[in-house]
């Protein structure tokens, strides 16, 4: 089991050194909060231009992806816009996590689905992707009650994110569950039973295990089966979640049902997983066509 192969593409972004240490995140957050969003945005133009020239691998990935999503060859302007949208979402995180919602115009569709699930008791799985803004989606919890939201992620990322979140808003650290322990998913099962909403970014798996190839924007790409297997075992509703960024502070958060709850395991677990994955990938593809610059997998996704 330990000898399963890992595709190079999925490994690449793990190996790539993180841009900026914790100290620089803290300084960045401090400056951003003092400058405010409008001035902070101005800084993005030179910063993203710098990254456009200094990160050839990310630029190549951006161009490859945009070509597929736009259906035509992407020029450097498209890529610059791609980088700027990414930069905006990263910067806005600071304001969203500090509950400074006044900078934004956030519309939400499908939150009645969450309310329904919450009223029935027991949480649900929120399946997102490295697409748009998870933080914008997370603001929904503040709208009607303090819904407990946890985030499940790979241990290496969990460590970094926990530290970064702590730097932004210390209350947020406990919301991250790392996958580094054998009992990590037992913790997820317990939180779901307690009515938590557990977010999972289901489009990546850094160890490259259990990948399934599915058609995505014209060519097959590998998606991890793990999240869908966990969903199958736990039987809680699976909701697709996306926070689209449309520019100028406008976010659109969407929730859509991917799979309803099941009491007993499906008669054919494999078929259930395949169907739920197919639906997830199809919805993700539709999102990419609709808001192409919201895709934040800056590595060779189709490797």
């Amino acid at each position: 089991m330990s000898g399963r192969s890992s595709p190079a593409g999925a490994q690449e972004w793990v190996a790539r050194p993180e841009r900026g240490s914790l100290a620089s995140i803290k300084i960045g957050v401090w400056i951003a909060l003092r400058l405010g969003r409008r001035l902070g945005q101005l800084f993005l133009y030179p910063v993203c231009l710098y990254f456009l020239f200094s990160s050839p691998a990310a630029l190549r990935a951006s161009r490859d992806y945009l070509g597929r999503a736009l259906g035509q060859r992407a020029g450097w302007r498209d890529c610059y816009r791609h980088f700027l949208i990414f930069g905006s979402c990263v910067l806005d995180r600071v304001f969203l996590l500090n509950e400074q919602d006044h900078w934004f115009d956030i519309t939400v569709t499908g939150d009645d689905l969450l309310r329904q699930i919450d009223q029935q008791g027991g949480g649900c799985l929120l399946f997102g992707a490295h697409f748009g803004s998870f933080e914008a989606a997370r603001t929904v919890r503040r709208r009607y009650r303090d819904l407990p939201v946890s985030l499940l992620m790979y241990e290496e990322n969990a460590k970094k994110i926990r530290a970064a979140l702590g730097a932004i808003n210390p209350r947020l650290e406990t919301e991250v569950i790392g996958l580094g322990r054998l009992d990590s998913l037992i913790a997820v099962a317990e939180r779901l039973r307690a009515g938590h909403f557990v977010g999972v970014l289901a489009d990546r798996n850094p160890d490259g295990r259990d990948m399934v190839r599915l058609p995505f924007l014209g060519t097959e790409a590998a998606f991890p089966q793990g999240p869908f297997k966990v969903a199958m075992m736990l039987g809680r509703p699976v909701v697709m979640m996306a926070g689209l960024y449309h520019g100028k502070g406008r976010y659109e958060v969407r929730f859509e049902l991917l799979a309803p709850a099941h009491e007993r395991r499906p008669a054919n677990p494999k078929a259930w997983m395949d169907e739920t994955m197919r639906l997830y990938v199809a919805k993700l593809e539709a999102l990419c066509r609709e808001a192409p610059h919201n895709w934040f997998n800056f590595y060779e996704f189709w490797a």
Partner: protein, 93 residues
């Protein structure tokens, strides 16, 4: 390592069977070294496997493996430690 290891006890063999059949492991149940780590080098189980095991253990033995158990590091160490934990907490024991 194998030369110094004690063979599986009855309870350990039963648990080993449950684990290999649930997870469809290539390793035969009887060949699992009861002292080998479940994680990494040994059986190579991951957190998804462990979730699966926790579900069948709850069903079969009525024992809930909990994430907030401080002793989990030692409980999930090997087949032997896991089996000992289950036997100590069995509802009908």
């Amino acid at each position: 390592m194998t030369s110094t290891t004690l063979p599986q006890s009855f309870d350990e063999a039963e648990l080993a069977n449950l684990i290999t059949s649930t997870l469809n492991l290539d390793t035969a149940a009887a060949e699992i070294d009861p002292d080998a780590p479940l994680h990494g080098e040994g059986l190579g189980l991951d957190s998804i496997d462990m979730l699966e095991i926790s579900l069948v253990v709850a069903q079969r033995y009525g024992v809930k493996l909990r994430a907030d158990d401080e002793n989990n590091q030692s409980i999930f160490k090997s087949l032997r430690t896991l089996s000992a934990h289950i036997q100590a907490h069995r509802a009908s024991a």
